[in-house]
């Protein structure tokens, strides 16, 4: 997922002003995935939301000394979300791998049993499968697939609860407010309490 462009960043400006701009865009980006990512079938949206959480976390961590305790708390929340979405992603990656592996074993066994029957066989007895080399492996792989599917559901339900708790707790508003400049602080920033700075050259952002 390509990160959204952050406008009006200024290398000559202060770390705090620039960091607020980046954090605001990354926070908005994270929340923009929520409607789709709340559907368990939207695997790509969940993956994109994880990347967005990671980007928010890193910008808050790296600028924490400029943005203060709210950034530290925001980074922790983003990390918790990133980790949980990462666990879901691991299930989404592993499950197709298990299915693909099972399919390969099944194809191998099919070829084996067919060959064992001989080229001129008129029919095939069920007992021919007793010699299939992978016959003892399917049970464990199916059990693993069941476990991964069920775990994915458990983790997704937990994600829903945690996301709803974040939203209900005003995570975004608290972070935005917490990293806004204090009234006495000089210099422009993102806060509605401060005016927007003039646009410097460039504008490509993280």
């Amino acid at each position: 997922m390509k990160a959204r462009r952050v406008k009006r960043l200024d290398p000559e400006g202060t770390l705090a002003d620039n960091a607020r701009r980046i954090a605001a865009v990354r926070l908005k980006e994270l929340r923009s995935f929520a409607p789709r990512a709340l559907d368990p079938a939207e695997v790509d949206a969940l993956h994109d939301m994880r990347i967005a959480a990671k980007r928010l976390r890193y910008v808050l961590e790296i600028t924490e000394s400029a943005l203060g305790p709210a950034a530290r708390e925001g980074a922790k929340s983003a990390k918790r979300l990133q980790d949980l979405l990462g666990e879901i992603h691991d299930c989404d990656v592993m499950l197709p791998r298990v299915h693909a592996h099972t399919d390969r074993l099944r194809s191998e066994d099919t070829r084996w049993v067919r060959q064992a029957a001989g080229s001129r066989a008129k029919d095939l007895a069920p007992s021919a499968t007793r010699s299939a080399p992978n016959r003892a492996r399917y049970r464990g792989l199916e059990t693993l697939a069941v476990y991964l599917s069920a775990r994915r559901t458990v983790l997704f339900d937990r994600f829903l609860r945690e996301w709803e708790a974040l939203e209900a707790g005003g995570f975004a508003a608290r972070l935005t407010e917490g990293i806004s400049p204090a009234p006495a602080e000089s210099g422009p920033g993102l806060s509605p309490r401060a005016p927007e700075p003039a646009a410097p050259p460039g504008g490509a952002g993280p």
């Binding site: 910008v59 924490e64 400029a66 530290r72 691991d90 003892a136 464990g140 993280p206």
Partner: protein, 188 residues
């Protein structure tokens, strides 16, 4: 897991370009400090530590992108991404193997046979990932990635740091490359 080092000298009033220089210097140093022994598949934490460090470096390069010369930044970021991808190709089977070991330990003996066959496949992926990582490390060395990162950081710093540069009054200058880092750390 590797913990990120605190970047010294950063405060609200630090010039953004100087913060960029400090962040890239510290994060780049972490990457290369963790490069020893990463090809050892018997110790999967080494590759994990380097991968996390590379991800943090990449984040710093992206967060502070506007502070760097565009062409050099693009080239360095591309090479850091390539290194990160190679570390990921090695790390992904490491993680899957560890997860499968945990699952297998809690299943019945009859179920373990199937899981072991998947483990064999993942071990092959791990070896393939290791070969790719070896090439990526060699490419990073040949392309002098470490030196290019240092030059990139230098280009972001204010022109005359000896005279105070862009640092606000009272701010501590960023850590020089090779300096002994502080022992404190931030969230991993």
């Amino acid at each position: 897991m590797a913990r990120a080092r605190r970047i010294p000298g950063l405060g609200p009033g630090t010039r953004f370009g100087d913060a960029a220089a400090a962040a890239v210097e510290v994060r780049a140093a972490e990457v290369f400090e963790h490069s020893g022994g990463v090809l050892d598949t018997g110790d999967i934490e080494r590759v994990h530590a380097m991968r996390v460090s590379t991800r943090r470096l990449r984040a710093a390069l992206e967060v502070f992108a506007v502070c760097f010369p565009r062409k050099e930044h693009k080239s360095v970021l591309r090479d850091v991404k390539a290194l990160a991808d190679a570390l990921g190709e090695r790390r992904d089977p490491d993680v899957a193997l560890a997860a499968l070991a945990g699952v297998a330990a809690e299943l019945t003996r009859a179920d373990r046979s199937g899981i072991n066959s998947l483990v064999t496949e993942l071990r092959e992926n791990q070896q393939h990932g290791n070969a790719g990582l070896e090439q990526a490390l060699e490419r990073a060395k040949e392309s002098r990635l470490e030196e290019r990162l240092a030059a990139l950081a230098g280009a972001a710093r204010s022109p005359d740091p000896a005279a105070g540069g862009g640092l606000p009054a009272g701010a501590v200058p960023p850590l020089a490359i090779g300096a002994v880092p502080p022992s404190d750390a931030i969230t991993p």
